[in-house]
C-alpha cells in the first residue's frame, strides 16, 4: 500500500506530501505520524504541502487533527509551503486551522520549530 514517508531529523519529523492526498492515505499518515512521534519522542513535526494543489474539507480537518494529536503527544506541528489557491479554498471552506502553525517554506518552518523548542527549554529552566 502507498504510504507517505516520514523522515526523522533529530528531534523533529519531516513529512513531505508529494502525491494527491486521498482520504485513506490521509488516515494512514495520521496513524503513522502519531506512532512515530511516540516511538522517537519527537518534539516537532514539519509537514510540507508545497506540491499539494487540491484540498477538501477532509484534508483540512486531517491537518488540524494531526496538529491536535501531536500537541497531545507534546510535539509542535508546522505546516509549510501552502499554495495560495489552497489557502483560499480552506478559508472559503471555513477552516482557519487555528491550532496549526504555518511557515512559508521548509527553511522558515525549521527556524520556527527551533524557536518553539527554545521556548520550551526556557520554560523548563525558568
Amino acid at each position: 500500500m502507498e504510504r507517505i514517508p516520514i523522515l526523522r531529523m533529530g528531534q523533529f519529523l519531516l513529512v513531505t506530501i508529494q502525491v494527491d492526498m486521498h482520504d485513506r492515505l490521509a488516515l494512514q499518515l495520521q496513524d503513522d505520524l502519531t506512532e512515530k512521534i511516540s516511538e522517537w519522542s519527537s518534539r516537532g513535526v514539519l509537514i510540507d504541502i508545497s506540491t499539494l494543489e487540491i484540498v477538501d474539507s477532509f484534508i483540512g480537518r486531517m491537518l488540524a487533527n494531526i496538529a491536535a494529536m501531536a500537541r497531545v503527544l507534546d510535539a509542535e506541528t508546522v505546516v509549510v509551503g501552502m499554495q495560495p489557491a489552497v489557502a483560499i479554498t480552506l478559508v472559503e471552506l471555513g477552516m482557519s486551522l487555528t491550532g496549526v502553525r504555518t511557515a512559508l517554506n521548509v527553511e522558515t518552518g525549521m527556524e520556527l520549530l527551533y524557536e518553539l523548542r527554545g521556548d520550551f527549554h526556557s520554560e523548563m529552566g525558568g
Binding site: G81, P84, V91, E92, T102, L104, N105, T108
Partner: protein, 293 residues
C-alpha cells in the same frame, strides 16, 4: 395588406434625400462624423428597412426578415457610442426617418384619409421600434464600455508593494467588495509566495468605510495569508473606523492593528530582526537600516 412596403420601395430615393435633409437640419454632427459616412449609413439602412417591410411583418421585428436591419442598427449605434454621440442623437437618426416616410404616405393616399391614417400608424409603430432597438444597442455598448473600465480599475487599484526583504505592503484604495477582495487576496498571496515574505501590511487608509462585510473580507485575507505562513498587520485605521469597528462588534482579536503604516513597518522590521539607526549619532536626519546580529 399594407401598402407601406410598396410605397417605400417606390419612393426610396425621395425618402432618402428628404431624410438626409431632415438630419442635416436637426442632428448633423459634422465634428463627429463625415457626411459621406452618414450618407452611406442611411442608404444601407433604408435599403434594409425596405427589404424588411417586404416580408409583410411590419409590426413584428423579431422575425428573420429583419435580421439585416437589426444587425445594421446594432453596428451603427455601437459605432456611434464610440464616436461620442448622445443617446438622443443616436435615436433621432432613426426617428428623423418619420417625416420623409409620412410625406410619401400623404402624397400617395391623400384621397383616402382612413387608409392614410392606417399606414401612418403602422409606419410610426415600425420606426418607434427601430428607434428603441437603436437605443438599446447604444446603451449596451456603453455598459460594456463601463464594465471594461471597472475591470481595468480593479486591476490597477490593488498593487502589492515590497517594502523590505520579507515585508510586503498592500495599500487598499476604495471600497472592498467581494469581487475586489478576491483580487486583493489572490494578488497578495501570489506576492507572498514570489517574494518569500513573512509580513504583509494591509493599509486601509484609503478605504472609506469599514462595515461587517469589509471586516469579514479582511479577516479572510488575513487567515489565508496566515495559512501560508505570512503574518498580516492592518494599518491605517482611522479613529472614525476604530469607533465603527467597536460599535459593530467586529472581533479583530488575533489581528495586529496599527494606526499608521509607519508603525506597522517598524513592527515588521523589529519582528524580522532589523532596526533603524542613525548613522551620525542623531545629528543628521540620515537613517540607515541595519540587520542586527
Amino acid at each position: 395588406m399594407s401598402k407601406l412596403p410598396e410605397m417605400i420601395s417606390k419612393h426610396e430615393e425621395a425618402i432618402r434625400a428628404d431624410w438626409l435633409k431632415t438630419m442635416s437640419a436637426a442632428t448633423r454632427r459634422s465634428d463627429l462624423m463625415s457626411s459621406e459616412e452618414m450618407k452611406a449609413q442611411s442608404q444601407e439602412l433604408l435599403a434594409a428597412i425596405a427589404n424588411g417591410t417586404k416580408s409583410g411583418e411590419i409590426t413584428n421585428l423579431d422575425g428573420p426578415a429583419w435580421n439585416a436591419v437589426r444587425e445594421l442598427l446594432t453596428a451603427i449605434s455601437a459605432s456611434r457610442a464610440k464616436q461620442g454621440f448622445t443617446t438622443s442623437e443616436t435615436a433621432t437618426f432613426v426617428l428623423s426617418l418619420k417625416q420623409p416616410v409620412f410625406n410619401v404616405i400623404r402624397k400617395e393616399l391623400a384621397a383616402t384619409p382612413d387608409a392614410m391614417f392606417e399606414e401612418i400608424w403602422k409606419a410610426t409603430h415600425l420606426l418607434d421600434k427601430l428607434a428603441l432597438l437603436t437605443a438599446d444597442a447604444f446603451q449596451d455598448t456603453r455598459e460594456k464600455f463601463i464594465a471594461r473600465q471597472q475591470e481595468e480599475l480593479m486591476e490597477l487599484s490593488t498593487p502589492v508593494v515590497k517594502l523590505w526583504d520579507g515585508i510586503l505592503a498592500l495599500p487598499i484604495i476604495g471600497t472592498l467588495d467581494s469581487a475586489r477582495t478576491q483580487v486583493v487576496m489572490e494578488s497578495l498571496l501570489q506576492a507572498v509566495v514570489q517574494t518569500n515574505s513573512r509580513f504583509a501590511i494591509i493599509d486601509i487608509t484609503g478605504v472609506p468605510t469599514v462595515d461587517t462585510l469589509v471586516a469579514q473580507h479582511l479577516l479572510k485575507t488575513i487567515t489565508a495569508a496566515r495559512l501560508m505562513g505570512a503574518e498580516c498587520i492592518i494599518s491605517g485605521v482611522r479613529p472614525q473606523i476604530a469607533q465603527t469597528i467597536v460599535h459593530l462588534g467586529i472581533d479583530l482579536a488575533g489581528v495586529i492593528t496599527k494606526a499608521k503604516l509607519a508603525d506597522a513597518f517598524a513592527l515588521a522590521l523589529q519582528r524580522t530582526g532589523k532596526s533603524v539607526i542613525s548613522t551620525d549619532g542623531g545629528n543628521t536626519k540620515k537613517t540607515l537600516f541595519k540587520k542586527e546580529g
